[in-house]
């Protein structure tokens, strides 16, 4: 096989009303309480004026067939026009205020999620995936907007309309009213059944559609692999299959969606027929006026739409609950690393770093065991070891991306857990292996950590790391926009930009996750030189890959399975012929062997 056949059902639908979630959602309305009350009043005005119009018409009918007073007809006509105008302004204000509230809540919600996200540790995003985090802030919040802007008001207004119609009908003629309501239980029963089947059909449509889209997205993203492996015919076959599944599901759902409207309109017509027949007979024996009969016909005509809408709004509420749950799930994540209540600003540091018997891990797995490392200001420390030896954890702990389990890390004697994260990190700089550039210009990227930096400062930093020359060759030099994946810059150039970024931030402590060497000679030279400049005069921690870097380090720290096994300079360690020596010679051994055998042969 080789195609996606299953995607997890996104909706955990169930309750349309979860008091816990509703309460928390309503909290978002708190700041706008007066607006909410005002809007509710407007809804009442609009509904009342809407129902007043048929009432006025029926009064008019009775007048023209009864007392036939022209002035009364004129009064009714004027009242009608006045009501239309009131309804116009009421609807206008009501729509505007509901939308305003809806969008404002969305604003607050997204804002809060974003700010909360900034506090969460990077491992949260790593775990959840970029896409999943984004969906919550984009789509789930939009569902809530829909709920606040349309659904809640819709439910209130539909309920009011229903209530109003029932009241008017009962007050006008309770017997005829009760007769007209006969279809109501039928309607409710039909809706219940319909919902049960339709919902399953809709869900299956959405699920099959998600499978189609997942297949499509993957096929497009991996098209080079598909074509290289000549998988086109097979993939087409699978795609037709899943696409066909979706069609079948959609056709089934179409049947359900097609059946509801005619059913409702038939019930409505049947009620109308009943009213015409029975109501007409009531007019014969003068328990009902013609105007009332007309009013009944108009009322029953409006009776069913709110019921139908309410059921739709019910499902919107359901998905809003699910969306709300996902939103609060994010908001409820406790930041793994938090400032202590009495955290203080880390004063200007000299850069003395001490790892004191540090133990650390993720979940149940210990990653670092009892690490003891002491670094003096200005020293360069190179971490060496295999993937998974714990090098990244060492620097992550220093940045406080996570907190130690046991032991402590101090900078100039300050336990990093006692100071604020902002003050800590603003004195720490980092250059990552996978250079991430933000959308914006080259200049924006270099001055990322110091947005106020002047162009001269930016240029100075770029010159220092040797990036100035190639930047000046870009179409708009420092104002050249960089794409997210930075396609206009080569990998090496991107690295140089990130060096300049770190240099401009001028941190006392620098952390460098070195990328493997690049074969672009020119850039490689620049990078090697830039590295030297970057490391000078500050305490540096390097996850090293370049021999040149390692050789110049004051301390080479060899790590294995979460422990420091050797510390020393390159020369000392080579002389020791321990683990470092083994690692170092690893990639050469195979070839040297061959050379040896060739030479001896």
């Amino acid at each position: 096989m080789g195609m996606i056949r299953y995607v997890p059902d996104q909706e955990v639908l169930g309750k349309a009303y979860d008091s816990r979630i509703v309460r928390r959602l309503l909290e978002f309305l708190d700041p706008y309480r007066t607006k909410v009350i005002l809007t509710t009043l407007l809804v009442i005005v609009v509904t009342a004026s809407d129902l007043l119009l048929p009432k006025l018409f029926s009064m008019g009918i009775d007048e023209v067939v009864g007392d036939k007073r022209l002035w009364v007809v004129n009064v009714i006509g004027t009242a009608f026009v006045a009501t239309v105008i009131i309804r116009f302004f009421g609807t206008w204000a009501q729509y505007l205020s509901t939308q305003w509230i809806g969008y404002r809540v969305v604003f607050d919600m997204r804002n809060r999620m974003f700010r909360h996200l900034q506090q969460l540790s990077i491992s949260y995003i790593d775990r959840r995936g970029v896409g999943s985090v984004m969906t919550r802030i984009q789509n789930d919040v939009s569902v809530i907007q829909e709920m606040f802007a349309n659904t809640v008001i819709g439910i209130i207004s539909n309920a009011l309309v229903l209530l109003g119609i029932i009241l008017i009908m009962l007050l006008t003629n309770w017997k005829l009213a009760l007769l007209s309501f006969i279809v109501l239980p039928i309607m409710v029963v039909i809706m219940r059944y319909w919902q049960r089947y339709a919902k399953a059909a809709y869900r299956s449509t959405r699920r099959t559609m998600a499978i189609v889209n997942a297949n499509l997205a993957e096929s497009i993203a991996g098209m080079r692999v598909v074509q290289a492996n000549t998988r086109e015919p097979l993939n087409m076959k699978y795609f037709r299959l899943v696409n066909g599944d979706n069609l079948a599901a959609a056709v089934k759902a179409a049947k359900y969606s097609a059946i509801l409207f005619p059913t409702v309109s038939f019930l409505s017509a049947a009620s109308t027929a009943t009213i015409v027949y029975i109501g007409g007979r009531f007019v014969f024996n003068e328990t009902l006026t013609i105007g009332h009969l007309v009013l009944f016909v108009a009322m029953i005509d409006r009776f069913f739409a709110p019921i139908r809408d309410l059921s739709q709004q019910y499902s919107t509420l359901q998905s809003a609950m699910a969306a709300g749950e996902r939103i609060f799930e994010v908001l409820d994540v406790e930041p793994e690393v938090k400032d202590k209540p009495d955290a203080y600003e880390l004063p200007d540091i000299t850069g003395k770093v001490d790892y004191n018997n540090v133990t650390f891990g993720y979940g149940d797995t210990k990653i670092l065991h009892d690490i003891d490392l002491h670094v003096n200001p200005g020293e360069t420390v190179a971490f060496v070891g295999e993937t998974g030896a714990g090098k990244s954890s060492m620097v992550n702990l220093l940045m406080r991306f996570a907190d130690v389990w046991d032991g402590s890390i101090t900078i100039d004697g300050h336990d990093i857990r006692d100071v604020t994260q902002t003050s800590l990190r603003s004195q720490l700089g980092i250059v990552l292996q996978d250079t991430f550039l933000f959308g914006g210009t080259v200049r924006d990227n270099i001055s990322y950590a110091r947005p106020g930096a002047t162009l001269r400062e930016v240029e100075a930093a770029a010159k220092e790391v040797g990036a100035h020359d190639f930047i000046m060759k870009l179409p708009q030099d420092y104002d050249t926009p960089v794409q997210e994946r930075g396609s206009s810059l080569s990998v090496g150039q991107r690295q140089l930009v990130s060096f300049a970024r770190a240099l401009l931030a001028d941190p006392r402590i620098l952390i460098l996750d070195e990328a493997t060497s690049s074969i672009d000679t020119q850039t490689e030279k620049l990078i090697q030189m830039a590295l030297k400049r970057l490391l000078v005069g500050r305490t540096s921690f390097v996850i090293a890959h370049r021999l040149s870097t390692i050789r110049e380090a004051d301390k080479v720290v060899v790590m294995h399975l979460g422990r420091i096994v050797e510390i020393g300079t390159h020369d000392e360690l080579m002389a020791k012929k321990g683990m470092y020596y083994g690692l170092y010679t690893m990639q050469w051994r195979g070839q040297d062997e061959d050379e040896e055998t060739e030479q001896t042969a």
Partner: protein
């Protein structure tokens, strides 16, 4: 209009259904339009004239018509939905087929997200047009025509009064439909802008936190949100005016009907039933006209979508089988470039200039050079991901353009620079190029690529699902799976584009070892960032600006001044020197490490090669 015709073309296979659906629509509409008239008659002849039988007959007639209307409405509604789903489905299949045909060049230019939105959003717009907009337009026009005729025939003056606001309503609705579009466009743009700030913040989370820029980022995001809010409200303000206005216009018509009609009834010039029927008709008219704006907007949207879809469907694939292309059954794998020139579409300069070389089975050709020097272009021309402009690329003396694409590519195994894994199981990913591979074959390939051990450590071994919905793999693990995938197809030509860039040096060393055996009788091409991996190639081609500037073996190249030597000095020189100083007794370190070779030497672990060598 051409677009309209092409959409119609998609409806052609279903033309019987189209006829049926629209016939049903008109029938249902006809039945619906008689009901207000019947109510009017019931009042005049039944209620006013006190005729019980007449009243009963009308009631029964209403029920009868309502049943018919319901049945036809069902046919219409179900029919349009099925029609729209079918067209959407066909379009999606066509797009998918086209996507598979389009060359690498196309994917260089387009982003996955954009292509996805063609197949999702754009098809949805067309679907919704067929489902709702066209139907609503026909219905609105039909309704207006019928109601106008009925009203004007029944009572000219009252009819004119009832219809007095209709033209304004229609014009306003159309006008609104046109005016609201740019507002929505601006909202979409701002949403995109907000999304990219969010995306960057999430994807670049490490950088944001490292530089302690959380506050500035929050500020930036809030500004985006504020702008989105403002633009949303701009649309809301337009709607807030539009909806009540059309309601009010209709309400004024109703007021006119009641006033003038009331006066007519009062003076005995018209029956009360007619007045009631008029009120009903005027109320009925409100909805379809209000839709008009939306309908026009949706149709315009769908046309724009169709335009984008057809643009893709009309793209001619640059690389296709020539009419006389032949399959190649027993490929040996002699690859020859003869004065090849090549330029990327839209590229400012030639990506390859006058490239000539030959590679034979059993030989490893290494390509070295700076980024953009032409290495990747060379290897892309062999499986015809692109076509050379001048000169020829031949395999066993046959121009690649004369070999059937599928047979050409199935003889080539490629490990690309960026590893792509599908969200299926590990085993299926390895067997991607050979879906009928047995478990033993898959495992053998995995072992050769040094992937077996970490796969076995996964929760469900080879059945573990990878990707977003499954386990996450490290860069090195992904690359090893990609190598296993390339090995499983047992290709005659093996291309490794920086295949070991993200594995650590120990694993790289192991993979190199394994590969050396595998490359034994194949034609192999290697691009590597690290010189250590290309050192023992049979032929090293050094590229600069699309030309081969140096060629030869490692030892030959380091002996002369030039690009290669420079590179060597930079990357390997001191490493080797240091090693030479220190590796005085070379056997010291050899004993304490298990030798990786025996795993392969057994032969059974790598059936693909063993089989070929045996034959």
């Amino acid at each position: 209009m051409k677009i309209g015709l092409r959409i119609l073309h998609y409806l052609k296979p279903y033309w019987k259904r189209v006829v049926l659906v629209y016939a049903a629509l008109l029938a249902a509409l006809g039945f619906q339009m008689t009901i207000p008239d019947l109510i009017g008659r019931a009042i005049d002849h039944g209620v006013v004239d006190r005729d019980g039988t007449y009243l009963r007959n009308i009631a029964l007639l209403i029920i009868g018509l309502a049943i018919l209307q319901a049945v036809f409405t069902f046919i219409r509604s179900y029919g349009t939905n099925v029609l729209a789903e079918n067209v959407g489905n066909d379009l999606r299949n066509d797009l998918y087929a086209k996507f598979q045909e389009l060359p690498f060049q196309f994917y260089d230019r387009s982003q996955t997200g954009q292509l996805m939105s063609r197949a999702t959003e754009d098809i949805n717009y067309i679907r919704s047009m067929l489902m709702f907009a066209v139907r609503a337009l026909v219905q609105a026009i039909g309704m207006m025509v019928i109601i106008t005729i009925i009203m004007l025939k029944t009572n000219l003056w009252l009819g004119l009064m009832a219809l007095s606001t209709t033209p304004f309503l229609a014009i306003w609705a159309l006008h609104f439909g046109v005016r609201i579009r740019p507002v929505y466009f601006m909202i979409q743009q701002q949403f995109g802008s907000m999304t990219s700030v969010l995306q960057e913040n999430v994807a670049g989370g490490r950088v944001v936190r490292s530089f302690a820029q959380e506050r500035a980022e929050s500020q930036r995001f809030e500004e985006e949100l504020e702008e989105l809010f403002q633009r949303n409200m701009r649309a809301a303000r337009k709607w807030a005016f539009n909806y009540p206005l059309s309601l009010a216009l209709n309400g004024l018509s109703l007021a006119g009907v009641i006033w003038l009609g009331g006066y007519m009834v009062l003076t005995g010039r018209m029956s009360v039933g007619t007045l009631v029927a008029f009120e009903r008709y005027t109320a009925l008219l409100n909805e379809p006209i209000r839709w008009l704006g939306m309908v026009v907007q949706r149709i315009a949207q769908a046309f724009a979508s169709a335009d984008r879809i057809f643009e893709i469907l009309d793209t001619k694939p640059a690389v296709t089988d020539s009419p006389n292309a032949k399959p190649m059954d027993n490929m040996r794998g002699v690859v020859k470039f003869d004065h090849v020139n090549f330029r990327y579409r839209g590229g400012r300069s030639e990506a390859l200039h006058d490239v000539t070389f030959e590679a034979v089975p059993g030989q490893i050709t290494a390509l070295v050079g700076a980024t953009g020097s032409g290495k990747s272009s060379v290897i892309s021309l062999i499986p015809r991901f692109y076509d050379a402009a001048d000169g020829s690329v031949t395999i066993d003396g046959v121009n690649v353009k004369d070999i059937q694409l599928s047979s050409l590519r199935s003889n080539i195994g490629i490990v690309m620079q960026e590893t792509f894994l599908f969200s299926v199981t590990v085993g299926e990913n390895i067997a991607y190029g050979k879906p009928d591979a047995t478990q033993a074959e898959i495992e053998a390939a995995a072992k050769a690529a040094r992937a077996h051990d970490f796969i076995m450590r996964m929760p469900e071994g080879y059945d573990t699902v990878v990707g977003e919905r499954g386990v996450t793999l490290s860069g090195g693990q992904k690359q090893r799976l990609a190598i296993a995938r390339a090995l499983l197809v047992d290709p005659r030509i093996l291309i490794l584009d920086d295949a070991t860039a993200s594995v650590d040096s120990e694993t790289e060393h192991e993979i190199q070892h394994a590969l050396r055996t595998l490359m034994a009788d194949r034609t192999s091409f290697v691009i590597a960032q690290r010189l250590s991996t290309v050192r023992d190639a049979d032929m090293i081609l050094v590229f600069a600006d699309g030309e081969i500037i140096q060629r030869g073996k490692h030892d030959e190249l380091v002996a002369v001044e030039g690009f290669y030597k420079e590179l060597y000095d930079l990357q390997l020189r001191d490493q080797e020197d240091a090693l030479r100083e220190l590796t005085a007794p070379p056997n010291d370190f050899e004993v304490d490490e298990p030798e990786p070779k025996p795993v392969l030497a057994g032969g059974k672990s790598e059936p693909a090669v063993a089989r070929r060598q045996g034959s």
